[in-house]
């Protein structure tokens, strides 16, 4: 008896049970194991860190930490070294994010065609993606090495003898920042490529065919068919890349440790030194907060501008 009536009733009852968390206290038992550590070791510390920015916290101090209000921030405003570092951070983040996107888009478009060697590209993409950042740094130091490096040897081979003769790319005041930026582009390209490729694969093939029947060239097809379709992914991935790049640490730490003469000292390296070399916890937290604030404003402007552009079309 029950077995005949159950099929009619249960699907609805089952979905209501699944969809109604109010009655489902079991859900909380499923959520808590992950929620507690996140609250205690992620949300909590972040709030604590924001609070620290308004204190004079120092490492290994005996007197109790005190609130100092906005003192750290008024100090920070005067700190030209930090703003130099901040400027370098912005140059680095833009300098990495933009070429990363352009090159990744090119590669994604190529991989979206029916070319051979795609498997090889996929295999090679693993290298920058999976490699520890420390190893990426070490590897490129070997490439840039003035004597034993392949870059100078290649330049010599191409007959650019003057350019390649013992140039120490990572120690030169003018070359250090471009050199680390190139490494940043290399390291982040695969992830960006894969995201864009996924977007490309959602572009309806019929639209392309229709456009080319109408006599649209490759560039027009890209502008009118491909780009609108991948635009949301492109926006998201450039915004994320910008954040990640601005906050990056290990790569440049290994490549130059901020040198020469601070030319590659990204804000994260600066704040790390402030906190763990000089023990100025409160001041370093204020730097972190300043970084968040500026990045948020920049991103808001960028995304708002892009979204507005969308509406106008």
């Amino acid at each position: 008896m029950t077995s005949t009536t159950a099929p009619q009733r249960s699907p609805a009852a089952g979905s209501r049970r699944l969809a109604g968390p109010r009655r489902d206290h079991g859900a909380w038992f499923l959520v808590l194991p992950a929620l507690l550590p996140i609250l205690v070791l992620s949300v909590g510390p972040l709030l604590y860190g924001i609070g620290l920015a308004f204190t004079d916290a120092q490492s290994g101090r005996t007197q109790p930490t005190q609130w100092v209000g906005a003192l750290n921030f008024s100090d920070l405003l005067q700190d030209t070294l930090f703003w130099d570092s901040f400027r370098i951070g912005l140059v680095w983040a833009v300098g990495v994010t933009v070429p990363q996107f352009v090159f990744a888009l090119g590669l994604a478009l190529l991989l979206n065609l029916d070319l051979r060697l795609r498997w090889l590209a996929r295999a090679l993409a693993i290298i920058p993606w999976a490699m520890p950042e420390v190893v990426v740094g070490i590897m490129w130091r070997l490439v840039y090495h003035p004597d034993a490096g392949v870059l100078n040897e290649t330049l010599r081979g191409l007959g650019l003898a003057g350019a390649g003769d013992g140039t120490d790319w990572l120690s030169g005041l003018a070359t250090a920042l471009p050199a680390v930026i190139l490494v940043g582009v290399w390291a982040g390209m695969p992830q960006t490529t894969v995201s864009l490729l996924a977007g490309l694969q959602n572009v309806p093939r019929e639209l392309h065919e229709a456009a080319s029947m109408d006599g649209a060239g490759a560039w027009r097809r890209f502008r009118t068919v491909t780009w609108p379709a991948i635009r949301p992914i492109a926006l998201a991935i450039t915004a994320l890349n910008f954040i990640w790049n601005f906050n990056s640490f290990a790569l440049v730490f290994v490549l130059t440790d901020g040198g020469p003469g601070g030319r590659t000292r990204l804000p994260m390296l600066f704040a790390y030194e402030e906190a763990f070399r000089y023990g100025q916890f409160g001041y370093a937290a204020a730097m972190g907060l300043a970084m968040v604030a500026v990045i948020s404003v920049l991103l808001a402007v960028y995304l708002a501008g892009r979204l507005k552009g969308d509406e106008e079309k």
Binding site: S10, P11, G14, S15, R17, L18, A19, P21, A27, L30, V31, P33, A34, P37, I38, L41, S42, G44, P45, L46, Y48, G49, L52, L107, L110, L113, L115, L117, L120, A121, I126, I127, A130, M131, P132, V134, V135, I138, M139, L142, A148, V150, W186, V194, A198, F246, N247, F249, P267, A271, Y272, A275, F276, F281, A285, M287, G288, L289, M291, V292
Partner: protein, 285 residues
């Protein structure tokens, strides 16, 4: 007809050639630093000192690898990394899977807030997190402790694990679970015998990704560990660079190559699933 189609065909061949040339440039750009690392790792000191280095070592040697193990405690460091990465990956999965299930199946304010946090937590500079974490762990006597590091790794891999796993759960049709419920299976029974097997490949991929992330991690290990015997592999690798950056190139390259092999191999195994999962998590979030 044939006249009309010939010119586009010719143009297409030219286009194809250009496309292959471009692809080849990309492949070279992606591959050459790694090939150079391999080449350097097998070169004897005499060739490394040569001011005209070659791509293929003339007299390849394993001496650099022997030297690398002699100069730094690589095995010990690899053991530390392995332990930290394995424990944190398994723990993260155990904690994240139930929550991912809830996030995927229930759409309400809570799950939107949690997903929002997953995204926002990516945006904060680590320095803002590491200072309070350092103070908290210090209060718990967990500075310079492997347990403290594992705790941080677990929490740090949770957002990504949640993101991935939520996508994988969504890919399991709800109808399957409902059908099992109709057949009289309880909630627990449904999860274990219907959902879990379908989820298993995604769980393995996510766990391996968390493992790779922790294996590669540098910043937290640098700040939170002090004793040399507790250091993880990436931190020990930087010791090869020396104070002035005057490195012994051969052993440096050999150690770097060894340290990166596990990541490359594991990533090769899960690559497709990871890229698929990232996007599954992104769809309809």
């Amino acid at each position: 007809m044939s006249q009309v189609s010939r010119r586009p065909a010719l143009k297409r061949t030219a286009g194809r050639t250009g496309q292959y040339a471009a692809l080849l440039c990309y492949l070279l750009f992606l591959a050459f630093p790694f090939l150079w690392l391999i080449s350097t790792a097998f070169k004897p000191p005499r060739e490394l000192a040569d001011i005209h280095p070659t791509w293929i070592p003339e007299a390849p040697t394993l001496e650099n690898f022997r030297q690398a193990f002699a100069q730094q405690p690589l095995l010990e460091a690899a053991g530390n990394s392995l332990l930290a990465a394995a424990i944190s990956a398994v723990t993260a999965i155990l904690l994240a899977t139930p929550m991912a299930y809830v996030l995927a199946r229930f759409r309400n304010r809570f799950s939107r807030a949690a997903t929002g946090w997953v995204v926002i937590s990516q945006a904060f500079p680590l320095v803002l997190v590491i200072i309070p974490l350092f103070l908290i762990l210090k209060g718990l006597q967990l500075i310079d402790s492997r347990i403290g590091l594992v705790m941080v790794y677990v929490v740090w891999s949770l957002p990504f694990a949640l993101w991935m796993l939520t996508g994988y759960v969504r890919a399991v049709p709800r109808e399957l679970e409902e059908a099992a419920a109709v057949d009289g299976a309880g909630r627990a029974r449904t999860l274990i015998s219907v959902t879990a097997p379908l989820l298993a490949p995604g769980i393995v991929a996510t766990a391996l990704f968390a493992f790779i992330t922790a294996w590669n991690e540098f910043f937290f290990a640098l700040v939170l560990l002090k004793s040399p015997e507790k250091q993880t592999l990436p931190v020990v690798l930087t010791h090869f660079l020396g104070a002035e950056g005057v490195a012994d190139l051969g052993p440096l390259a050999a150690a770097a190559l060894l340290a990166t092999l596990p990541s490359l191999l594991l990533f090769a195994v899960i690559q497709r699933r990871i890229t698929g999962g990232m996007l599954a998590g992104a769809v309809k979030s």
